[in-house]
Amino acid sequence: MAALVGLLVGPSLRAAETAKTIKIGAIFSVTGPAAFLGAPEEKTARMFIDQLNAKGGLLGAKLELVLKDSAASSEKTVSFAKQLIEEEKVLAIIGPSTSGETLAIKNLCEENKMLLISCAAAETIVNPVARYVFKTPQKDSQAVIWIYRTMKDKGITKIAVLSSNSGFGAAGKKQLEDIAKTEGIEIVANEVYDRAATDLTDVLTKVKSAAGVQAVVNWSIEPAQSLVAKNMKQIGLDVPLFQSHGFGNRKYAEQAGVAAEGILFPAGRLLVVDELPRTHPQRRLLAAYKRDYEALYKEDVSTFGGHAYDALLIITEAIRKAGSTDRDKVRDAIENLKGLVGTAGIFNFSPTDHTGLALDAFEMLTVKGGKFCLYKK
């Protein structure tokens, strides 16, 4: 329907807008330590743009994606952002993949009035709100609340917190510490490990020796997520393991093998689309994205690719609503988007909420038989 509108509106606008292409910049860490975020994001973005162009583009113009690989380096991200703003003069930038990189260019984009739709999760990206900066993943604090509430259901009050020394790990650690008290959870061990760690048995031995640990929460986006699971079993630390929403990649569950069984983590519904009721508003979009992505790239979808999908969905929807490629009009249109069905949830933006997702965007998932499924109490 939307594409149809685009086709009908297209020709009349073409005269006014001189039918140029709409340039969208993308900064993803396609290679480097955060490649498992950036690679599916980049693939998703290319697929999204190709699909949209095949349907005739937007407002009669074709979309062009200007892709940059930051390799998870904040320095590179800053120079790419400058390039996209000053030389490429893109309409908006999607990405970066990690919170650290996003925070490195948050002010830059705000000062240059450049629309930035980040695919990273940290709360600080949208809090305090910057007029031109939005993000698509669910908030860390929402993930933490889901974890703590699930713990309370299971009667767990004393926990150990592990996090990696990355932007994502640090942001999660802070939320875990901040929210613990209000949710009645006591953190009895709290350790930060190196993001490139290859063995965590020593850190977990320390956790094991701390008194009364009933569960472990690990907050990282690195392969260390599988290490924690394996090492816990190996040293005989038999308590439930909770992971962040960064666990939403089947690869990690595979890497941890049978050690992944029973891991609990909050995530969007993309990973459990087959379990959703037929009437669920997200089901059609999720199933289509999963089918197209897996057919095109011959690999499993991850929630991370979904963040890029949502970023492009938000921009294109806002351009349609605004009926223009004027950046300020598009920005205003984003703040007025309500009930937009995306992969991460249903977006309701406002001038004070630049994430647009509520607590119900998450589900608690678990690993059963090597597969992600909904956690049922």
């Binding site: 490990y193 020593d202 050690a259």
Partner: protein, 297 residues
């Protein structure tokens, strides 16, 4: 957990990490002895070994895959020497060290394009991700025993090779006095190639046995090279057996640091001790001044 078994658990954790550093450190030493070059691409051999073995397991059984990967990386090591170091022999050692850093980056990028950015791993040699062996109250993965056993065998094998075989003696002769070795009819150029091959093969073997524990990805080499280098310096450059002690020491120090300090400080502790040792013994724990001076002539 009581104090004894807790200490043992930390110790085992340290020894696991340390044995990997030790193998990388031995690789540094072998090449340093034969050529005077510090090969900073040493960690890439570990990565290549793991990557190749993972790929080969799709076609052949695990033991064949590991053997194949080790042989292939050995050839890669020899090829690097023949292609880069032999023609540039006349240049300064410093230049060649810079070349190894360049090679390390090239190998990483090549691995990224040959494979991809994803993390992969070999299956556990015995048991699986959750099996553990209990000993005196501590528990470890059976794969740790594979790592320790393999590293121990490799070290003993290398020792026997260097001490008792003609080739091994020739290699040592080259390192203690290249001119005299040449006069005695030893083909020093070939010995240098052999040292690259040997050190590459050792690294690849380590890469295979640690793959189930640490997982393998294209960027894993560089951090290992740094730790391995620290271990080699600590043990004393030029002494492969010193490297074993150095590696284990760095690993155990890290584990001890974790038990007493926040986990983020483990590198600080390990490197602080390294600095202290170097202040007192600039040639490392087991390095000899004489060997180094002989090399520099």
């Amino acid at each position: 957990m009581d104090h004894g078994s807790l200490a043992l658990q930390y110790l085992l954790s340290g020894i696991t990490k340390g044995s990997i550093y030790a193998v990388v450190a031995i690789g540094f030493n072998l090449i340093f002895n034969a050529t005077g070059v510090l090969n900073f691409a040493q960690g890439e051999f570990v990565m290549l070994g793991g990557m190749l073995a993972v790929t080969l397991t799709h076609f052949v059984s695990l033991p064949v895959a590991v053997t194949g990967a080790v042989l292939a990386v050995t050839l890669v090591g020899c090829a690097l020497e023949l292609l880069f170091f032999r023609p540039l022999r006349r240049h300064s050692v410093l230049l060649m060290i810079v070349i190894t850093i360049g090679l390390s980056i090239v190998i990483q990028e090549a691995a990224l394009h040959l494979w991809d950015e994803k993390v992969r791993s070999l299956p556990y040699f015995t048991g699986n991700e959750v099996s553990s062996v209990k000993m005196l109250g501590a528990a470890i993965s059976p794969q740790v025993l594979w790592v320790l056993g393999t590293v121990a065998l490799a070290v003993v094998g290398l020792h026997v090779f260097l001490k008792f075989t003609l080739q091994g003696r020739a290699m040592r002769a080259c390192s203690s006095n290249p001119e005299a070795a040449m006069l005695a009819g030893i083909n020093t150029a070939n010995m240098r190639t052999l040292s690259f091959g040997l050190s590459a093969g050792l690294g690849a073997l380590a890469g295979c046995v640690i793959s189930p524990i640490t997982m393998t990805h294209y960027e894993m080499g560089a951090p290992l090279a740094i730790k391995g280098f620290a271990a080699a310096i600590l043990g004393g450059l030029g002494n492969p057996m010193g490297a074993v002690v150095g590696g284990l020491l760095v690993g155990v120090l890290e584990a001890v640091a974790v038990s007493r300090l926040p986990a983020g400080y483990n590198d600080v502790a390990a490197f602080a001790v390294l600095l202290l040792v170097l202040f007192v013994r600039p040639h490392g724990l087991f390095g000899s001044l004489a060997a180094e001076q002989a090399r520099e002539c």
